[in-house]
Amino acid sequence: MYNSLSTRRSFIKKMAKLSAMTAAASMFPGILFASEQEQGIPNGADLEWKKGPCRFCGVGCGILVGTENGKAVAVKGDPNSAVNKGLLCVKGYHQTMCIQSKDRLTHALVKKNGKYVQTPIQEALDIVANKMKETIDAHGKDSVAMYTSGQSTIPEGYVASKFMKGAIGTNNLDCNARLCMASAVTGFLTTFGADEPMGCYEDIDHADYFITWGNNMAEMHPVLFSRMLEQKSKRGAKIIDFATRTSRSSTASDRSILFEPQTDLAVANAICYEIINNGWVNNSFVEKHCNFSKGLTNIGYGVEDKFKFADKPEKIDFSAYKAFLKEYSPEKVAKYSGVSVKDIKYLASIYGDPNKKVVSYWCMGMNQHTRGTWMNNLVYNIHLLTGKISQPGNGPFSLTGQPSACGTAREVGTFTHKLPKGVVTNPKNRELAAKIWKVPVERIPSKPTYHATEMFRAVDRGDIKFIWTQVTNPLVSLPKTSRYRPGMEKKSCFVVVSDVFPTPTSDVADVILPASWHIEKSGLYGNSERRTQHWDKMVEGPGETTPDAWMTIQVAKRMGYGDLFPYSEENHVEEIYNEYRQFHEGAKHGMAPLEVLKKESGAIWPYVNGKSTQWRFNAKYDPACSNGEAFDFYGKPDGRAVIWQRPYEPPAESPDSEYPYWLNTGRVIEHWHTGSMTRRIPVLHKAMPSAYIEFHPDDAKALAIRNGEQIKVTSRRGSCVLPASINERGLPTKGQVFVPFFDENMLINDVTLDAFCPISKEPDYKKCAVKIEKV
């Protein structure tokens, strides 16, 4: 087909307009976006619409996929979904376009004499099973590992856990949710004794203020941000953006307050200081429902191999806590946080006003933090001191980045220390797992082994000799990939990668298994608001693509564990979910039956007496409350939540004379995580074709850097070359540069530091020291 340059130019211009229109619409729910969705549907199409959750972020928008002649030809937002009410962001709308990518992995590939050879899937699974068995026989069960994902479906995560912990008997299972959500988990467990948010997205319809902590929701959770903007417009709700970088969220907010990296710890304490100092404490709530505790301090950063840490909680009283906060007066904190006394007092006054409902939102800014658990605790402190929690429009809300970080990673428990209910260190939890899995309880080890970072360190050291990754791309997403890529390339470890597309991780694999994509299999995800969503297979996958759960089952059967995996290929999703539900029976975590999930656009657990529980721990809404009071934090034995004394401590690495800039990494609206899917969607790839390094204009001027110039960013770990971006997508604070991590051709994680929160073991991708050079 002939395309003149003028036609092409006009097409490009149209596409530029469309991208901006979509971006504008995704910041506000409106007619245009809905009509754009309709415009994308082919003329005269006779489509069958099938419901499911979106494949991308943790919001869990409901989608309707239009299929025709066995192909997915259109996507639109599900108007029946309480999550997105028919809206979709630019990624969600275009999601199925990646399936037909020319480089789709359609058959198993086995490396033979240094080259990948197409191999029948059954033969490839034989190789995987034999290699895993041989490795266990030669080096013990802790020499093999699985690394899965917050994008794995609930059945996929469940069979991975059963296979590793129940069948083989090793806790060498961790997942990429360690990189994004682990601090939220430890924050919830230390404060409430129960994981996951107490509220739900309906809080948006009730809150007077939304305070976002280091969270660019306009790009990362655009549909929720749109719902917030709608409330801003309709009811005058206010959005306050508290961050280290001016982003689209900042500009759309009522107020943008910037802080120096890591000092969010101090500002949160200063807010508590002000709440107490001004008499804004909800005394009856605190007296009835809270305890005070402190933990160890100077807890390290985990940068050394085999780092160990265990906190030693100690009860304190309110007066000791009040005395501790004296170091965090607004005047003292303003000196190093970059936040003015006035702004600290302003934030405190919002939380302190008994007549205003406040929701705090956060995601990676607080979680990917060397004191991530502490930061989560500190925001809970604010809500507990003021009693603004577990009520419509009042509560702290930790958002997730992946579609089933909650449903799979956290609820099924694909972390080294977890079981589908509880933890491996708890004998009762092991007994329950052994009973449901029908294995001897002694087979489930009582000690956790490797968290994600340490797992890849163990691969590099040669301690792990077989690793199987599913639904994840660690050689782009891990911190300090400059160490872990050569580690994975070593002959000492046999690498199996299940994926849909080739990635830098599959490039180092000995066996590549072709996985089914999202709608090519049935499955269940669990989103940020505890909503479990089911979908049925909508289209056939190409070639020999196979669901990850079924590949795990097939390998388990080949290794002699067939009796533990009696599922059928046709109905394994249903059979596995029904088995899994037994773990969570009861009022505290009951899961909705599959027949309900098949009909509805998800249900929120605890699902009790045919009803979702929208606000946990509040007796008005939560049937699990049993203490006779208005609130019952039943995750803790005494029903009381904990207000933690957590100090400010500096980051693992700060700018110095040799490396004078902060490096902050993150995401952009067009691309999802490592870009392996969204970069194969032409409209998204063309809209954001490559990564970049963002500068503050003053820094760019001082360094004589202009837009588009090639810049080398270097840390003590490695370097990366990217084009400069000044006054474009976002604006970092002076002395800071920002780089998105979606681009496998510009691996910024070669530069980042693998320091982590000693409690959650979640790495900090937001702070390390770098130097800048023009190339």
Binding site: K17, G30, R248, G708
Partner: protein, 78 residues
């Protein structure tokens, strides 16, 4: 030949002034967005140098609070 699209945020109450100022620039096309608080702007320039000059021109507009880049394309030259 760069083609770029932006979201333009006006200062409070200055949307009409911003529309006028942007419309007066030949290489700018201004469109309303569903979100009435912002404008969609598409720029079309001959080369990187003209793009740079245009950007400086836009940055001087008093009613403009922030210009956020949405997408950038580079089409081949005739």
């Amino acid at each position: 030949m760069p083609i770029k699209s932006y979201l333009a945020h006006p200062h409070d109450g200055q949307k009409a002034e911003l529309v006028k100022a942007l419309s007066d620039i030949e290489a700018c096309e201004v469109m309303p967005a569903t979100n009435e608080n912002i404008l969609v702007v598409v720029t079309d320039t001959l080369d990187d140098a003209s793009e740079e000059i245009l950007k400086e021109q836009i940055d001087k507009i008093q009613s403009l609070k922030l210009l956020a880049l949405v997408s950038g394309f580079n089409s081949p030259q005739n």
